[in-house]
Symmetry: C2
Subunit: 126 residues, 2 copies
């Protein structure tokens, strides 16, 4: 259990995967299986590959900015600002990853919510 | 920094606040301020009180089931299944809380997503 190593792995996974949309590099950080809980993505590493391919086509400028990152046990949790098209308000996201004992990513959950234009407080979603 | 104490505080906060909707008990777990990032809730402990009052009126049977809980530094992160009305599919939620050095809750962020009826994988959102 190496919390800092696991955080660094997940940060590298965001950069290679969501930001660079480079499946080859990102897939090296995935373990023997990749259990997917995002309801719009198919299970397994094949589902992740298809997701990245679709991102490259539909949202080539999509960026994920990691606002804070946490680790506890085998899990890494990231609070992320996702912007599909530059200039949009974007989406508040929390991703949860489980890593195996070799520090490879083997499971993924997420929750996403569009950032509204108006809010009841002035603190922002991050 | 007491990770286990902080987790227990947040679990007690869910039970008193969201499940019992008991502002008096829940408010004892809040520190000098309560910075609110949920865009639908007003800032401060007054905003939280109004939120609980509304919940009692609109969704008296609302339940929050904590699926997993994490702690790192001053933060506690919970992956939660929220069901406003029994029998509904409900909402996937991640709440992030910051606690002060006395173990009181002083800041809250969340992300919420309705659980869809159909999904691209069979793993569920939790």
């Amino acid at each position: 259990m190496d919390l800092e190593r696991n955080k660094q792995t997940v940060l590298a996974f965001y950069e290679a995967g969501l930001n660079q949309k480079d499946f080859e590099t990102a897939s090296k950080l995935i373990g023997d299986r990749y259990v997917q809980h995002n309801p719009k993505i198919a299970d397994g590493i094949e589902g992740f590959e298809a997701f990245l391919r679709q991102l490259r086509e539909d949202f080539p400028a999509l960026r994920a900015e990691i606002k804070r990152i946490f680790a506890d046990g085998d899990f890494v949790i990231a609070h992320v600002h996702g912007v599909r098209v530059p200039g949009q308000l974007g989406t508040a996201i929390v991703d949860i990853f489980r890593l195996d004992q070799n520090g490879k990513i083997v499971e993924h959950w997420d929750v996403m919510q569009p950032i509204p234009e108006v809010a009841e407080n002035q603190n922002g979603m991050f």
